[in-house]
């Protein structure tokens, strides 16, 4: 039983961590771009901003299950196969990246405009403002956004398990749905719940510790 559970648990953790890293790598800069290229902001590019915002909206509109099927070919190119634990990281990252971008955008938007203005008055460049003002000032809010992203990814990864991904979702489907082994299904569900609770707990604590407001 322990072996049966352990491998899928590690698979889930692996998928979630990898997808978090990739989606942050893509989504974080995009979120910053969304804010700074907006009209009236520090690096005005209204046309670019509209296009970027449009693409993000389209990606966010696609239901995850459909997105997964759509990116099967892409996963094949990147990791060499279209199903399995590693392959699932591709659709997970693509699904979460636009979500991360929006989360970053709203976190940065919380910053008082006056603070940005005073930095401009001190002669800060766009890059200096991003690095020294936008990111540090919104950090607590960004951390709580990342927490939300990780929890979403745990949910998505379980869903991915149903159509060829590995992990706890796959375990629950295999045993619960196909073999009517309710016990294994409940155990995998319990582990997912513990993962979500743990992530939320750490995220909340970090946010509180970091926020000096």
């Amino acid at each position: 039983m322990a072996d049966l559970i352990l491998t899928p648990t590690l698979e889930t953790i692996y998928m979630v961590i990898a997808a978090t890293i990739f989606s942050l790598t893509i989504g974080f800069p995009l979120g910053i771009l969304l804010v700074v290229t907006e009209k009236g902001s520090i690096w005005e590019k209204p046309f670019f901003n509209k296009v970027l915002s449009g693409i993000i909206n389209v990606l966010r509109s696609i239901p995850f299950i459909i997105l997964m099927i759509l990116v099967f070919p892409l996963a094949k190119i990147i990791v060499g196969k279209s199903i399995g634990t590693t392959a699932t990281i591709v659709p997970l990252s693509i699904a979460a990246a636009p979500f991360v971008a929006r989360i970053m955008e709203s976190s940065i938007r919380e910053i008082d405009k006056g603070v940005i203005e005073s930095s401009l008055a001190m002669g800060a460049s766009v890059w200096q403002i991003i690095r020294r003002v936008l990111i540090p000032e919104s950090l607590p809010s960004i951390i709580s956004g990342i927490t939300l992203t990780i929890i979403n990814l745990i949910g998505y990864s379980a869903m991915a398990g149903a159509i060829g991904g590995g992990g706890l979702g796959n375990l629950a489907i295999r045993f619960g749905l196909y073999k009517f082994d309710t016990k294994v299904m409940l155990v995998s569900l319990a582990i997912i719940i513990i993962l979500v609770q743990g992530v939320q707990f750490i995220g909340t604590r970090l946010t509180i510790i970091l926020d000096k407001r």
Binding site: V115, L120, A121, G123, R132
Partner: protein
């Protein structure tokens, strides 16, 4: 030091065009504390923001320390902004950073060495009297302390000019006073030229050398603070002065309610120290009724105001008026 030539700022909305600043020309001397006062919507905030081009002027020329600010490209403007410190009504300091890190901000931008930053900040903390708040976060500070942090930050890299956009408007009167004292100390010790926007005459009275009054985007009156207090020309200037001295508001005095002649006296410097009223009574055959009076302590001198009712013969009154003129007193018959 700072020269504005026909600076204009227009805003366009879909429906209309708003002229926020209308052909403003000013000449501000080095180490002067220059006040720009006006009601909200007068365009004063837009004007001061044009000085470091946080707001792009639509036309006109701004020269600060022989540099034509209006013609600078992006990079040059960024460098020039480092010579112009600025403080704001709502302080605008970083909420997630300590006092130390906040003050260090402009020094980080200029890539000072860690040791130099450390040294400079200790110096600044002493100057603004926040030695014990070095590692505090803004949420642990009072409004006045936050503004002190903002001031230390604004002067950290030794700029030549300090702009204050309603820097004391969010503070209580006592704190306002201490912040104004600090600004004056900055001018006196470092010779900074300070331009401040305010809607409080009290602020102008306490620290400014010169003042411009703005209304509807235009500077309608410009004078030294003493002269403004002594003889305000425009209605709005009078209104600002009476806002801190309600007693000299002559609108509440109706000459028809009095038998004698009502006169308003304004005197400053030497003449404010002479016992003028007592001499009037002794020298001329006249009765004097004091209706209101006040003395304002300004930067350079004292300005006194008196509203008197002169009761006596027509000729005696004329003699009194002549006497007062000779004594260097500004007389206005109400």
């Amino acid at each position: 030091m700072i020269k504005l030539d026909s600076v204009t700022k227009e805003f366009y909305t879909t429906a209309s065009q708003i002229i926020a600043v209308d052909k403003v020309s000013l000449n501000i001397q080095k180490a002067e504390i220059y006040g720009i006062i006006g009601l909200s919507g007068a365009g004063k905030s837009t004007l001061i923001r044009c000085l470091n081009r946080l707001e792009e002027p639509s036309s006109g020329k701004i020269v600060i320390d022989n540099v034509d600010i209006t013609s600078l490209g992006k990079e040059d403007l960024r460098n020039q902004r480092k010579e112009i410190g600025m403080i704001f009504q709502h302080f605008n300091i970083l909420a997630q950073k300590t006092v130390y890190e906040n003050i260090a901000f402009p020094l980080y931008l200029e890539k000072w060495s860690k040791k130099d930053i450390e040294y400079r900040i200790e110096e600044l903390l002493t100057f603004v009297e926040l030695e014990d708040k070095r590692d505090s976060y803004p949420s642990q500070l009072s409004g006045g302390q936050k503004q002190r942090v903002a001031i230390a930050r604004a002067i950290a890299n030794n700029p030549k000019v300090l702009l204050s956009d309603e820097g004391t408007s969010a503070l209580d009167p006592h704190t306002t006073k201490s912040i104004l004292k600090l600004l004056k100390k900055i001018r006196d010790e470092f010779g900074l030229t300070i331009v401040m926007i305010t809607h409080q005459m009290e602020v102008v009275k306490q620290v400014c050398d010169k003042v411009a009054i703005m209304e509807d985007g235009k500077v309608i009156e410009e004078n030294t603070v003493e002269n403004l207090f002594k003889s305000p020309k425009t209605k709005i200037a009078k209104a600002f002065i009476s806002s801190i001295n309600p007693s000299i508001d002559e609108e509440i005095l109706n000459p028809k309610d009095f038998k004698g002649k009502l006169i308003r006296l304004a005197f400053m410097g030497e003449s404010s120290k002479k016992p003028i009223v007592s001499r009037l009574i002794k020298t001329f055959d006249i009765d004097v009724n004091i209706l209101s009076g006040s003395i304002d302590t300004l930067q350079a001198t004292n300005v006194g105001h008196l509203i008197l009712e002169l009761i006596g013969g027509e000729r005696e009154v004329v003699k009194v008026l002549n006497y007062l003129e000779n004594e260097n007193v500004n007389v206005e018959v109400i």
